[in-house]
Amino acid sequence: MTRPLIGAALLATTALTATSALAQDVTLTIESWRNDDLTLWQDKIIPAFEASHPGIKINFTPSAPAEYNAVLNSKLDAGSAGDLITCRPFDASLALYDGGKLADLTDLEAMANFSDVAKSAWQTDDGSATFCVPMASVIHGFIYNKEAFEELGIEPPTTVDEFFAVLDTIKEDGTYIPMAMGTNDQWEAATMGYQNIGPNYWKGEVGRLALIKGEQKLTDEGWVEPYRQLAKWKDYLGDGFEAQTYPDSQNLFTLGRAAIYPAGSWEISGFNTQADFEMGAFPPPVVNADDTCYISDHTDIAIGLNAASPNADAARTFLNWVGSEEFASLYANALPGFFSLSSYDVAMEDPLAQEFVSWRGKCESTIRSTYQILSRGTPNLENETWNASAQVIKGAESPEDAAKRLQDGLASWYEPQQ
């Protein structure tokens, strides 16, 4: 009886509202970097949970995204961190688990609702322990201006040949910039370019895991071909794309000056408010019409349990609820573009989000190839990929040279590739 009391008393220092709680009430505090989502949690998610789970109160306390890792680490060391910890994907969270800060959640019932790919971002390297419940992922693809397509009488492409035919048509017409992307910020070239179209060539998970095991190299055909494709994009980007930044690209598209935008689904809510034309989306084009398609369905956010939490039982109840269909539906609809990672068929209202998520049914999902394990050393493969993708699109480096440079860098510290 005393332990929950102490716990409630301790937490009352951060949550003034908890003072009115009943003695047996448990208050759980959530650490998060999603301060953008504060109202969403307070107005929708927390009331929904508290209505069905009397006796547990939730307190959502986000910090600024850029400071989150540092703030969280010091709170965990000082023992003042909340019960529930929002997990960054891969190494940042793995380090917390290895340091004994996050509890092992492998046996949590809700884990059965998630596929292996969904859980891979919050597992130990051998996959034996899972320590966070996956919340949402982002999907890559291309968003296009439907009105522009109708005007020019073109259909969204499915194959690579059709893709370039469409780009040629838009370019010949001259009203629109065929594709809105710049290389100034570098990450777009890698994230919305290489990681977007790449899975079709390295066959999604097959290639990604083979690369981690050392069975494939970045100089193999499947990893170089996406660069050859990117090299062809150059002719379809706007004037001076070398100095075009990420916000420039977004604005070019939402102002209706560009027809196609290589995208991540997180753009959806922003584009919905900015653009006054109808938008559609198509998945990364495949080489032959009947090839299996692969999409990057990248695991982005999850939630785990502070190993030192005095309210572990209540926290597990909450985590099970996070893994439920109710949460999946609430979250996915409130934040279109952040898709539930659970195996449930979540109904979404936003047509663009529906389009993106429908690809999960017909394509194989994978995550960004550089995120798991491969970006642990120096040189950092993810950062190198940004640089290489930008260089290839600008034509400053040949696809083969770029691939060789990445492979040499990776092999310099990653044993399975040596």
Partner: protein, 308 residues
């Protein structure tokens, strides 16, 4: 009560007056500096900090991947400094010479206008220039177009061969007010009698500037050079604001500051490595120290000073 303080011969007031400055300076400058130098001799293994001597420096200068980045950053830094010395300081001297002309009207207005960018935040300067030079929304392409020179326009910040020079010139634009002010003050302190004496000997106009004023302001130019040197080798903000921590395109704008930042704090998936970062910081400290020493012992001691 009052007598007990007087009887002890210790002059407490000296300590009391020195204490704030010494404590603050030690806490925010001396201690961090030496701690950084110390940190460079350690590394982290198995979540423990272990002493490795000069291993980090061996990696920095010996390992191909590290040393390439280091020399690239250092070379870029020298180019950055070179542009400042070549453009900023001569323009600063020129502006000061014009401003100190007694018959110039609105001198105060020009002086303020030229000095104002100096007090702007790097972030504002970086962002404003990024917009001005932007190929999409910028006024640079349309301005050039208006005078029929559109063919001269290039997306400068996105081109490897121009990006660093462009940023150096932006920095010159921002800081040209500082040499201008210092030289202006030095020029004003030259007594009229000397110039009049020169006039009697037939030295007027441009000759007066070259033969009388310039030698007299040489010590100020020396100080400005060393300030520019230290400022440039510690630079970071403008590059970071305009090009991000990866200092694109293809690291062509990477200077020691951005290299240090990336290594020390990490970037995106790259986790921070405070020990390698400290090694870079130590190398920067060494470079600046050598530069300042060359100035102090090689140049400043040979400068002639004139007392009026």
């Amino acid at each position: 009560m009052t007598d007990s303080g007087r009887s002890s011969r210790v002059r407490w007031h000296i300590l009391v007056f020195l204490a704030p400055a010494v404590i603050v300076y030690t806490a925010v400058m001396i201690f961090p500096l030496f701690n950084t130098l110390r940190l460079a001799l350690y590394t982290e293994a198995e979540q423990q900090r272990v002493f490795v001597g000069l291993q980090n420096f061996r990696t920095l200068f010996g390992d191909q991947i590290w040393s390439e980045q280091f020399w690239n950053a250092l070379g870029n830094n020298f180019w950055f400094f070179f542009i400042h010395m070549l453009v900023q300081n001569p323009i600063g001297v020129l502006l000061a010479a014009i401003l100190s002309h007694p018959r110039l009207r609105f001198a105060h207005l020009y002086r303020s206008a030229i000095f104002i960018p100096t007090i702007l935040s790097f972030v504002i300067v970086g962002f404003a220039w990024k917009l001005i030079l932007s190929p999409i929304w910028g006024i640079a392409p349309s301005l050039l177009d208006a005078v029929g020179l559109k063919s001269l326009y290039a997306p400068w910040l996105g081109k490897e061969e121009y990006a660093l020079t462009t940023l150096a010139l932006v920095s010159v634009w921002q800081f040209v007010g500082i040499p201008m002010m210092l030289i202006y003050a030095a020029l004003l302190s030259i007594p009229e009698e000397i110039l009049e004496a020169g006039e009697c000997d037939g030295i007027t106009g441009m000759a007066a500037f070259w033969k009388i004023k310039l030698p007299l302001i040489l010590p100020s130019i020396g100080i400005i050079s060393i300030l520019t040197f230290v400022g440039n080798f510690n630079a970071f903000d403008l590059i970071y604001a305009a090009q991000g921590a990866l200092a694109g395109p293809d690291f062509s704008t990477d200077i020691l500051g951005t290299f240090l930042y990336r290594t020390f704090f990490g970037f995106q998936l790259q986790l921070g490595d405070p020990h390698m970062g400290s090694a870079i910081a130590t190398a920067m400290f060494g470079i600046i120290l050598v530069g300042v020493c060359i100035y102090l012992f090689g140049i400043q001691t040979r400068l002639r000073r004139y007392q009026f």
